[in-house]
Subunit: 341 residues, 4 copies
């Protein structure tokens, strides 16, 4: 089976290990050829039982390992830029988990590096674009039946936040999903952001501004509001309602089995994004493997990763300043010219 | 206000007291002129604070009381026939709670008495016909958009049954609502009935066949299946799905406020039919008062009460015999000729 | 029936005529004693068939008509102040349709007049407080199970706006319902307001800023966001989700009958607030009649009407200025001291 | 990648081609080693681009092809018995699409052949057992929180039936899914069946009894009713409500995106079982590949296939006779002893 795509996975933590499992046991057409993690024991554990994978503590070594034809970057954000540039230097296709880089400056350097090569190599890991409900909403907005979109109302709730989660991370780690989803759904760049501070929940760790209410403006005049609440305690919920000139559409109410007992009718709410978006992750990686084997690069671009980084950065500044903050994007290279709509 | 309709209420139990409250404090255009109950104390308690109402232990005396222009019968079923005939004899309009009478023979006698008079005096208390959801379903079926109805799937669940409830009463007291609703929704008579016995719930009192699964056939070839479960423990639920040639429509899923907490999304389920059908009872009595003041009789007819009695009786025999049992109706007097559809 | 409450109805337009019908034919315990409207023909038409009602072109004359014991004000907003003061002067209980007055200054004069008398006479017509779903949400928030409220997400959509509707009226006529609902649900005053301007719908009349997105802050630190969209074209929708520390609760999704046909499952959406809130209006007027007959005044106070007026006025200024605008309330008279929570 | 499981696929029609695509491009750990179809052109088309697959017109030849380690049977039902016996003779693990065989006698011969070998080789393609909602319902019933199950209400609707679909096929082709699902969900054998005939839809082809209403009894006394309607015109719908002693649970209402426009709120209904159960098929084949590579056989057994065949056969006879028909199963070999509950 010489045509199984040999993938080097960088990072063997929570996300990396899940992608290794996925490449090995869920998606077709790929194999794990190499894994790199500074913690060699963790890397070895992640590939236990995968005879074909070599283990490395150095990302560069993994890229040079035999049989590596593509790279999946699941290392911490600060390691992304170097890994992306190394992959570009070797002409290797990349699937890079979000964020592209932790800061807009690094994202811009990656963007310029890819643009200089003149063709796309990287797909960014905005997996919501592969979720069935989001795709349905995108298709509905694109076909024009509901008229032009005027507002997106978004909710993003987690049961609890990881240790050391900061108020800024509600925006640049959590809301970054809504930033990409809004840009993609609307086909518009975000131009300004305001962050409002509701009363802090007594369920939030000391010092964390949780929840927050974030309002984005778009180049087309639409408003995107986002409730982000990462210690809501009751479930993982991602909802989005698009309000258009001739109708509205809402996703994320999907509750599955309805149980009636003891005086109430209820449905379970997922507790974890890996449950809610499991299929989206599977489809995302399968789509990347399929495109790579065809010699193509599809999906979210480095420009998308760069734009998300700039908007998130403006959001963090808006949180701190309490004022409306404009979003300033670099000129868009031809490589990322808009298509369609 | 000489034009307030003076009503004699027969029976001051649970249902009678509720109708007295309704006539006095909810609907407009009526007043309680007299109340009769063998238990005089109960009757006096039910009209406490209503200065205009006289109290009687004898139904006949209440009908003869000053100012009585109409009768609402809420006494136990065995007292209905005599009360109806007495009201007919005086030409008084009647709203008679279901059942019309406990047995088909009595119902037939009432039917013949009204038919002999040549005009309608009685409205039967099938209040579901005044429920907003049922009315919506009826309107949808009547307008023909979904094509001809093929099946009705009905569920009727109570939290628990009253003491002394018998297996037969699941049919002639509870399913009697579905019997009328099916006849009304479909505009067809029921022609046969089969009663199936699922495993008995451990929550049912000793000796009660609960739940039951009842299947009716109609003159138009439709099937009507009814789950009746009077000790379900979890809530009062009435649902109905009509399956037609070109679509289906379901009522009774209406849950109101959706709460999300502790890993689930839920909505409260009503525990009692007086909650679920409160508005229907109000509208039923208001409609009766309004029509009576106009000199008209509308709503479910004595024929509807008679037919329900015959079908329920056949259902009880089907329960006991375990076989399909045909429904035999007397000829339909001209007074109750079909109209519409 | 000397104890039927004699009501003078001021105004016989759309709302006034509906209240006349309600007093005459829906609620119990009241009668229409007098009607006033500058258009005498309209007044006469509204009371056609109600023999007991006298007709006037002057509000003052109606208050002095024989048998008038209470007043229902349904005239245009600019006429409210004079009518309220006249009713107060006669000691007549009043149910005053919203708005209390068109401007905060007038509302303050009414407030001071009632406070000087030292007891409540007026109930303000915020009918959502009588809607079953709103009452359920209020009860849930009050019982504390979900913890303290952090955010209210509100939507208020109309199919189309009346002629001559202005951008300011989206706030002081439409959002005024959410202003009262938020104050009541949270038991908190609103302290600031910001109005954001999404892209204008092509379905809105020329010059109207529709939709708008309004964000209120409360004294307890909660945020209340309101989408107001009065030419949405697709239905009348009022939704409210309360997000609390330990859970969320949403009302307004109630769709009734679910129909499946032609590849979709759907439910009708009401087109009109009189349909959606019909029961709330009935319960509101019945509650007012009942309380008045008991010699009590309950329901929304003049303070509630005044506060709504001040907040709406701040909202209109926020719309015009594009900035966050603080809400400044006069001191709260003892007559309107907070109770409960 | 010597460890990719080499699969021979028998049948390259609609279902076979879909499984070939699935083995090649969706699930991991398998490859298509051989394909057999009497129509060689169709077989070649189905494996276009899969260099490793040999093409055969004879099933036996495909089993003997190099690299074949397992068999997926997707040929027409009449070919199943011979293919299963041939696979058993070679000791090859099999995933056999439903039905096991078209008739109980053939199913019994397959059962005896596998039982004689003393170990399981075959998994039957009842894919609903791999659907997330069905699995959730199964888990809920198994954990006992709702008490013992008393009734299952099932609906199974197709937009339209294929040409040449017969009244018997509504039961042995369509309801066979509910037969297996009921046996699996309840952990009970079905002991009798009655088939009722509602009015025939004008949308059904001439001569077809569509819809039908099928009622099964179980060894534990539960009732299972199934509406089967294969020309409903409006969508593909599979619903199941389990009614237990202490609560009920319903699956299949899952509508995804809710759109509001033009006076209604609606959600699309899938038109095809391949859409509704796409994930179930993926999970089923992945589970089979994974288990086979571990040297295990899991999932629905030949006994399950045999029992479904016997029950379906009784159902067809019940349809024809119009009476309750008992289900007679052969003794259960030790190989298929019940486990769990």
């Amino acid at each position: 089976m010489a045509d199984l795509l040999g993938v080097a996975v960088l990072g063997a933590g929570h996300m990396g290990a899940d992608h290794i499992r996925r490449l090995d046991r869920v998606v077709s057409g790929a194999r794990v050829a190499a894994v790199a993690d500074p913690d060699a024991a963790r890397a070895r554990e992640a590939v236990a039982g995968i005879g074909t994978a070599t283990v490395h503590t150095d990302a560069q070594a993994a890229l040079e390992a035999p049989g590596v034809e593509a790279v999946l970057i699941a290392s911490p954000g600060p390691a992304h830029e170097e890994a992306l540039l190394a992959a570009f230097a070797r002409g290797l296709p990349v699937l890079c988990e979000k964020p592209l880089t932790p800061d807009p400056a690094g994202a811009l350097r990656v963007l310029e590096a890819e643009a200089r090569r003149g063709r796309r190599l990287a797909q960014i890991g905005f997996m919501r674009r592969y979720d069935a409900e989001y795709r349905g909403l995108k298709a509905l907005l694109d076909d024009g039946r509901l008229g032009r979109p005027l507002m997106l109302h978004c909710m993003h709730r987690n049961v609890s936040s990881p240790p050391d989660f900061t108020s800024a991370m509600l925006i640049d780690s959590s809301v970054s999903h809504e930033i990409d989803a809004a840009r993609w759904l609307l086909g518009q760049e975000l131009t300004a952001v305001t962050v409002l501070r509701p009363r802090v929940s007594s369920g939030a760790p000391q010092g964390l501004q949780d929840p927050q209410f974030v309002v984005f403006e778009t180049e087309g005049g639409a408003l995107v509001d986002v409730e982000i609440f990462v210690n809501c305690g009751f479930g993982y919920q991602v909802r989005c309602e698009a309000v258009c000139e001739a109708g509205s559409a809402r996703i994320g109410d999907d509750h599955g089995m309805l149980v009636t007992a003891r005086g109430a009718a209820w449905a379970d709410v997922p507790q974890d994004y890996l449950v809610r978006f499991a299929d989206a992750y599977d489809r995302e990686v399968q789509a990347w493997v399929d495109a790579t084997r065809r010699g193509e690069v599809t999906g979210p671009t480095v420009w998308d990763g760069y734009a998300a980084s700039v908007v998130a950065d403006a959001g963090v500044r808006a949180l701190e300043s309490g004022t409306r903050t404009a979003v300033e994007l670099a000129p868009r290279p031809d490589l990322y010219a808009r298509t369609g709509r």
